[in-house]
């Protein structure tokens, strides 16, 4: 365990939100508002074929007929969808090498610690590993590294806008097949105006030679960032993908309505990890990102496997349920989550495990930590269909409350249409006991470090599921998000 880091990084608590800065870069913006013209503008900017434009317009018309959902335990002032920019890209595009990249952008990514410099990583700098990065700056993917190595393996990893142009057959086959355009209000909005995201295709029998990773940043004021990610693991394939986000300080709320679709065929596996650190709002609860996301994995094949691992520490509001549709016989889905809320943050998150095939298994371990005046809700669905005999689910959702003014809620839904299945649910709610804190202090451990230590113990089961490379960053993130939560 990175306990040395725990002690060291608590020292960094002086800087409240480390990633709060802007980059002065010329932006190319569409005018504010949402209508057909804006959508055509986006589609044209991306050089999309006609079918893609039609797909978007179809989604937009569906969206116009839909109503915003209000059933979640989150409260926010109404979003004026006409008062946002839906497209913002840095002026220089289509660069051939890092040298051509706007130096401001490069500097920004260096500040964020993203290994854009291929040389650094390839040179085997201590602690660095082979992580390919497709960096998204607001709405446009800027650079994709490691293309050559991936190309050798036959792996396609590129911005989705590129995939629409270069691999239209694959995109058409799978886009919208896991999250249909009319699935929900925000998915429809995303389908109409998504401006980028990642596309990954792993061919039959290929184990992707490195971890794939994407960083996003929201930079422009009042920009809703709408990413669309599509990952396909063909038969027998394997890929591990990490998504990590940061955002600069803002006064106005920023909408982040992403859609992620995963398709897993026979004997294939996708590991999807997220570290989310969007701006959570200021000390009075103003501003911050709205993270309204639809993520779903379709285990279509026999023995298909998927695991979602998420560490959510940022955003003013987090509203997402990474889910698994377990169609293929013997398929399995896992959901490991740490959701931390502090200040005035609100979280309504969880998962849906839909058992359709025989002998399917699912495993849910959710750790919610609330502090400050935040509200943290776990909402989960385990549904076992009539034909899903021999299926098993294990759910463990634990809540930890720090302080007297926060809230933790658990809303589990379990439905089973066959008696030949096993569903287990365990839940605990606990506080950091004064006794525990005093015990640590009596051993020389100051209070804030004691909280970090106890929280680390609480989330241990989930932290261990993260890729090695990101464990240290996660520890750091957890400690920083709990700053000032005691006393």
């Amino acid at each position: 365990m990175a306990d040395q880091n725990t002690v060291k990084t608590v020292e960094e608590l002086g800087e409240k939100y480390k990633y709060g800065f802007e980059t002065e870069v010329e932006m190319d913006k569409a005018p504010k508002g949402l209508n057909e013209d804006i959508i055509r503008f986006i589609s044209k900017k991306k050089g999309e074929p006609e079918w893609m434009l039609q797909w978007r317009l179809d989604a937009y018309h569906k969206w116009l007929e839909m109503e915003e959902p209000t059933w979640a335990k989150v409260h926010y002032p109404p979003v004026d969808f006409q008062d946002l920019y839906y497209y913002a890209a840095p002026k220089k595009q289509a660069i051939k090498s890092l040298d051509e990249l706007d130096p401001e952008i490069l500097k920004t990514y260096e500040k964020l610690g993203i290994p854009l410099k291929e040389q650094e990583v390839l040179a085997g700098v201590e602690g660095a590993s082979k992580v390919a990065v497709d960096a998204v700056f607001d709405s446009v993917s800027v650079v994709t590294t490691f293309r050559e190595e991936l190309a050798k393996a036959g792996v396609i990893f590129c911005p989705i806008s590129e995939a629409i142009r270069d691999h239209p057959d694959l995109v058409r086959k799978y886009l919208g097949s896991v999250v249909p355009v009319g699935d929900n209000f925000y998915a429809a909005l995303n389908s109409a105006v998504f401006t980028d995201g990642s596309f990954v295709y792993i061919p039959k029998g290929v184990r992707c030679p490195m971890e794939l990773s994407t960083y996003f940043r929201i930079n422009e004021k009042q920009t809703g960032q709408f990413e669309r990610t599509l990952i396909i693991a063909d038969e027998g394939a394997y890929v591990s993908y990490l998504e990590g986000c940061t955002a600069p300080m803002r006064d106005e709320n920023q909408l982040h309505a992403a859609v992620v679709e995963l398709v897993i065929l026979d004997e294939a596996e996708i590991k999807y990890s997220t570290v989310q650190n969007w701006y959570p709002g200021d000390a009075e609860g103003r501003g911050g990102v709205y993270n309204f996301v639809t993520k779903r994995a379709d285990c279509r094949g026999r023995n298909a496997k998927v695991s979602w691992t998420q560490v959510e520490t940022g955003s003013a509001i987090t509203w997402k349920y990474p889910s698994c549709i377990l169609k293929g016989d013997g398929s399995s889905g896992e959901f490991y989550s740490i959701a931390i809320s502090n200040g005035f943050q609100q979280v309504d998150s969880g998962t849906k495990m839909i058992h359709l095939g025989k002998n399917t298994t699912s495993r849910i371990i959710s750790k919610g930590i609330s502090a400050g005046r935040s509200q943290n809700t776990y909402r989960g669905l385990v549904s076992v269909g009539r034909k899903a005999t021999g299926s098993r689910n294990y759910t463990q959702c634990d809540s930890l409350l720090i302080g007297e003014t926060c809230g933790a809620h658990t809303v589990p839904y379990i439905t089973a249409k066959t008696p030949h299945a096993k569903v287990e649910h365990e839940a605990t709610t606990s506080k950091i006991a004064e006794d525990q804190l005093f015990y640590c202090q009596s051993r020389g451990i100051p209070e804030e470090e004691a909280v970090a230590l106890i929280v680390n113990g609480f989330v241990r089961d989930v932290i261990q599921k993260l890729p090695m490379e990101f464990m240290a960053e996660t520890q750091r993130l957890i400690n920083i998000s709990l700053e000032g939560s005691v006393g």
Binding site: V7, F438, Q441, R443, G444, P446
Partner: protein
């Protein structure tokens, strides 16, 4: 002088409004390096309160008196500062910390103390060496350290690990709050051996106990009787035997008068 307590008066915040309850009513005690002191007394005499106040547990108010530790005003220090200064309280009921391996807990504790003292933190290999040495001395199997702190530990195991903490953290004053409670004879012998192994010229011990039996295993230099929030009598180890014969009745009556 390691510890010097003069006329300490301590109240506990009560649930009824404005009604604070006085528990320690003018307690005085001095402990020099190398000395082993025992405080014995009936339930409610304030023994545990005394140990908690020395360690800095919140919820107690010192209304009069003073306490100094190695020349410093003890009551001014935060609990972690007292620990770094060399004070150790072995708890009567050690608390569980789920998910935190004992090894990690010890390392964070030791390095936190070193940092507070302005010393360099111990590297992982050096720390491991230290732990191996101490667990060998105390006959504690290394894989107990992989277990989360006190989770699922028996009473005896918890007390043994408190002695391991003492061995690793190297305090100068060890306060053992009813370390014999809940232990059978064999477990008691093992824990006592651990404590005796730590006796030295520079280290002082304060044993808090009901029963004379512990003092058969850990021989004290001074024995004090505590009743109704004060030390009412002091003597050598024979005093403990006398108490075993006569009980506490005499002292309770005295203070009630």
């Amino acid at each position: 002088m390691l510890l010097n307590v003069e006329n300490l008066r301590v109240s506990v915040e009560s649930e009824e409004e404005g009604a604070a309850k006085e528990i320690l009513k003018g307690l005085s005690l001095s402990i020099a390096p190398g000395e082993v002191h025992a405080i014995m007394g009936p339930n409610g005499s304030g023994k545990s309160t005394f140990s908690h106040v020395l360690a800095g547990k919140p919820g107690y108010e010192v209304t009069a008196g003073a306490a100094s530790f190695r020349g410093r005003d003890l009551l001014e220090l935060a609990p972690e500062e007292r620990a770094a200064a060399g004070l150790f309280l072995a708890f009567q009921y050690p608390v569980e910390i789920p998910g935190v391996p004992y090894m990690q807990f010890l390392k964070v504790a030791l390095n936190s103390q070193r940092k507070l003292r302005g010393e360099e933190e111990l590297s992982t290999p050096d720390f491991m060496r230290l732990v191996r040495e101490k667990t060998a001395q105390l006959n504690i199997p290394m894989d107990m350290l992989r277990r989360p702190v006190n989770v699922g530990f028996s009473g005896g195991e918890k007390k043994r690990m408190e002695t391991l903490q003492m061995a690793v953290l190297d305090p100068t004053l060890c306060i053992l709050d009813e370390i014999d409670s809940g232990l059978d004879i064999d477990a008691l012998r093992v824990v006592a051996d651990g404590v005796n192994a730590l006796r030295s010229e520079k280290r002082g011990f304060l044993l808090i106990t009901h029963y004379q039996r512990l003092l058969d295993y850990i021989e004290p230099d001074h024995v004090h009787v505590m009743a109704a929030g004060r030390i009412v009598r002091s003597g050598g180890k024979e005093l403990a035997l006398e108490l075993e014969k006569e009980g506490y009745a005499a002292y309770v009556e005295d203070t009630a008068a």
